[in-house]
């Protein structure tokens, strides 16, 4: 609208400050999301005994499958890291490429999780079977929903980078999305070691 009227220096300064505000605010947001996961983890641990005579983790979990999911997610974190490096170099094509790879790995992860869930539901171990399974589906599903939102955000970033290039606001969004993506990786490591490993061992 009145873009031309804004003095460039003033606006650049405001944008720079705003980017720092947003980075700090995003760290705090991640901490609040961490509280949500912490409470879901605590609920899960409390409810592992609540199987109500139904299947337990040992009956249901398949570590090979989970290992596959873990690999997809860990590698996707690495590829997002490559995208961040490329963004710092200002290489728009490389950023786009690495983001597409990251999104594809994320989609693979979500598909694997969907297969696991549908398999469990098919054998009568759905979230309404027992308190334990409610907690399992909700904790792991909340993480999966976060990954799905992350994929959606990657698609939005692809569009923005393609249309506008790596302007400071766009690059700053990419940085925050990176924080989010790596955060989900850390949460997944928690899920792997608190849900799947003890469930099987």
């Amino acid at each position: 609208m009145s873009d031309a009227a804004l003095p460039a220096g003033l606006e650049a300064e405001a944008t720079a400050e705003r980017i720092e505000d947003k980075a700090f605010g995003f760290w705090i947001y991640l901490m609040t999301d961490g509280v949500i996961f912490a409470l879901l983890f605590a609920t899960y641990v409390v409810m592992t005994v609540g199987t109500a005579g139904g299947p337990t983790g040992a009956d249901l979990f398949n570590l090979t499958h989970t290992f596959g999911e873990t690999m997809l997610l860990l590698v996707s974190s690495a590829t997002f890291g490559m995208a961040s490096v490329a963004a710092r170099e200002g290489d728009r094509r490389a950023v786009l490429l690495w983001l597409v790879v990251t999104a594809a790995l994320g989609v693979g992860f979500v598909i694997m999780e969907g297969l696991e869930f549908s398999g469990m539901i098919a054998q009568g171990a759905g979230p309404d079977r027992s308190g334990f399974l409610s907690a399992f589906f909700t904790l792991v599903g909340t993480h999966g929903a976060h990954v799905s939102v992350g994929i959606l955000c990657i698609l939005v970033m692809l569009a923005q980078i393609a249309a506008r290039g790596l302007t400071p606001p766009v690059a700053s969004r990419l940085f925050r999305l990176g924080l989010f993506w790596h955060f989900l990786d850390i949460v997944w490591i928690g899920i792997f070691s608190i849900v799947y490993l003890p469930g099987v061992l």
């Binding site: 804004l6 003033l10 606006e11 720092e20 505000d21 609040t32 609540g50 109500a52 309404d128 308190g131």
Partner: protein
């Protein structure tokens, strides 16, 4: 298409419920007709609803809070009336309706009266106190407001379409589960709480970033005004406690809708986990409500004593200690649930420890008053009433902190008396003090003192009449939430409590009269200088109401009570060498749009219209994506325009009758409103 929404949802089951529904419907229609008649829709939309200015958002929060205060109070007086007459009889309210009323009273007063009230005051004042031009994220701020409003709207709609929860404001399972509460009431509760809870989490993050990142040059943390400190601590609590209520609401809804077993009594559910999760939010929430009020009292006590605050450092550390301890006491809300004696003792001791920093604060306020030149203005009256009354509530709290005593008192009216004794003098009187104190900053004129004092006396005396009998009834063994009872000895106390409620009704009416009278006398009550009380902190350095940018030149701070120093140095109200261009965020329909979508989403979820839930979720995602892809959000206020606004204001200051350099002359109070005569 309409899920489980049928014509049965209209409140045809009771004349009283129908009456309530009609009041809501016709009240809404009357307001809309009045706005249409005044042709004010365009003005309201452009200047208010789409505004991202923290002062306007703050004012809208406060207006929402006052509306919901009236609704929550109507619930309260209906309960008091019922209990005053329902000895060995059914009274006038059927049990199902009575249960809805105590549930909505608690929900409204916590989530839709107190939360918007304090968030509004913080929005209005905190950025000005730290010398900032706005909060860090103005658009998220607007979104928080409209999410809160959408939650409030859901509660109001439940009066007309369907029923509200009968499970109390804490919605404990298994009663709130689908087996015992199959209808929509609990779903209304969950969705109202979820929507406003997301708004509060975002507000917490927003204020936290604002205080850490947006302070004026020179304002160290230990130079910050006390209200900013309490806001900082409250924001930390909002950001980290509210996710817990989000989790507990979602899990309860998954039980109800998806047949899960988080809190069911069979199939591996765990009801105690609900109490834990709820109070992990719920106890910090108590301090979210009360810490901002502590901040307000710290300002009123010092301004109206004409002294600097006694024990600033200890007040800051007491606030921080309370904020941290508030996360360590949640189990005292359910001592009787059967944790071991060791667990109960640990939480009992932690609870008693909180009384220590709180006591420190009370002494700091008392020592500030000591040898002060006290002006008995409305905010000061509330402050003094608070100090006296709050100590009584604090003492009963320490009593309840003993698990053995709690076993006797829990679920009785003693508990009801205790927490009202904390939250009415502790929080609500503080908000009233803040409203009277900062109202000129909102609208440019003071509130009428005479009606304010009348209202104050009704509130305070009414409070004592309404709640002291409940302490005694608690000792006599009366449980809370009784629709009728057969112990005749209780009735006299309940009649006194009812009279107290009537007196509070008069007080509330006088509050409304006070606002109306003040609006009519606004020319007389005009605050030309922006500093109507001889204030000490930076919010008084701006005009009343402030320009959109607050400060034409960001002040440099060298100590506490920055504005007092400026007045003493003679640097207040000084024209700078030159004015500069200022960028301010442009208005946006984003906030109201997200609020409207959230309301539709919540309403659709309550009535199981899943297609509409999906549609509004997609719409919300699209709106957020569009909004967050926009890099062009500022408009420029040219230096010439800034100069015009500032020159006009400074001329008004110069023409104002009061001396502008009181601290230097040492005659701070004589010519001011409320000065002793």
């Amino acid at each position: 298409m309409f899920g489980r929404l049928t014509i049965e949802a209209l409140p045809l089951y009771s004349a009283i419920a129908m009456g309530g529904a009609l009041i809501v419907v016709f009240g809404t229609l009357a307001v809309m007709a009045a706005i249409t008649w005044m042709r004010a829709w365009g003005y309201l939309w452009r200047e208010w609803f789409t505004s991202v200015d923290h002062k306007r958002i703050g004012a809208m929060y406060v207006i929402l809070a006052l509306i919901m205060l009236v609704r929550g109070f109507i619930d309260a007086i209906m309960m008091r009336t019922q209990q005053a007459i329902a000895v060995n009889s059914d009274g006038y309210l059927p049990p199902d309706h009575f249960d809805q009323i105590f549930s909505s009273h608690g929900t409204i007063m916590i989530f839709f009266m107190a939360m918007p009230f304090l968030t509004g005051l913080i929005n209005l004042v905190m950025p000005q106190q730290i010398g900032a031009r706005d909060v860090a994220f103005p658009y998220i701020n607007a979104m928080s407001l409209w999410l809160t409003a959408s939650g409030a709207a859901l509660v109001m709609v439940s009066l007309v379409i369907g029923k509200f929860s009968t499970a109390g404001w804490t919605a404990y399972p298994p009663y709130s589960g689908i087996d015992y509460s199959p209808y929509v009431g609990v779903d209304y509760w969950v969705w109202a709480v979820l929507l406003s809870g997301i708004g509060s989490t975002l507000s917490g993050i927003n204020f936290l970033v604002t205080i850490i990142r947006k302070r004026a040059p020179g304002m160290k943390l230990m130079f910050m005004p006390l209200f900013t400190w309490t806001t900082l601590c409250t924001s930390v609590l909002m950001a980290f406690a509210f996710p817990a209520v989000t989790v507990v609401g979602v899990l309860l809804e998954l039980d109800r809708v998806a047949g899960m077993h988080f809190f069911t009594s069979g199939d591996g559910g765990n009801m105690m986990n609900f109490a834990n999760l709820l109070w992990i939010w719920g106890h910090p929430e108590v301090y979210i409500l009360i810490l901002p009020a502590f901040g307000i009292y710290s300002h009123t006590v010092s301004t109206f004593s004409g002294r600097k605050l006694f024990g600033y450092t200890s007040l800051v550390w007491a606030t921080c200690a309370i904020a941290i301890l508030s996360f360590t006491v949640w189990l005292h809300h359910f001592f009787t649930m059967g944790s071991s004696a060791n667990v109960n003792s640990a939480f009992g001791i932690a609870t008693m420890i909180i009384a220590v920093p709180t006591g420190v604060k009370v002494y700091d306020w008392l020592f500030t008053l000591y040898r002060g030149r006290i002006r008995f203005t409305v905010p000061m009256l509330y402050t003094i009433a608070f100090i006296v009354t709050f100590v009584i509530g604090g003492v009963t709290g320490v009593l309840l902190a003993f698990p053995p005593a709690d076993y006797l008192m829990h679920n009785s009216t003693f508990l009801v008396a205790h927490f009202h004794n904390m939250l009415i003098p502790g929080a609500l009187f503080g908000y009233f003090a803040g409203l009277n104190y900062w109202f000129p900053k909102m609208f440019g004129f003071r509130l009428d003192e005479r009606w304010g004092k009348r209202s104050f006396w009704c509130w305070v005396v009414g409070f004592y009449l309404a709640f002291m009998p409940l302490y005694m009834l608690g000792f006599m063994g009366m449980p809370r939430r009784m629709e009728h009872y057969d112990v005749a000895a209780w009735q006299p106390y309940l009649v006194v409590a009812f009279l107290g409620a009537v007196l509070i009704l008069v007080g509330l009416t006088f509050t409304i009269v006070q606002i109306v009278v003040s609006v009519r006398r606004r020319a007389e009550l005009r605050d030309p200088t922006g500093d109507p009380w001889n204030g000490r902190t930076l919010e008084w350095a701006t005009a009343s109401p402030p320009a959109p940018y607050n400060f034409a030149v960001i002040p440099t701070v060298t100590g506490r009570d920055a504005f007092w120093t400026m007045k003493a140095d003679g640097t207040a109200w000084r024209r700078p060498a030159r004015y500069e261009d200022i960028l301010i965020p442009r208005n946006s329909a984003f906030g109201p749009l997200i609020g409207a979508i959230a309301f539709v989403l919540g309403f659709a979820a309550v009535w199981h219209m899943w297609w509409l839930v999906a549609l509004s979720a997609v719409l919300a995602a699209i709106v957020v994506i569009i909004r967050s892809s926009n890099d062009d959000t500022d408009r420029l206020l040219p230096a010439a325009e800034v100069e015009r606004i500032e020159t006009a204001w400074l001329a008004e200051v110069a023409a104002a009758p009061r001396p502008v350099d009181e601290p230097a002359r040492g005659v701070p109070s004589a010519a001011l409103p409320g000065a002793a005569t």
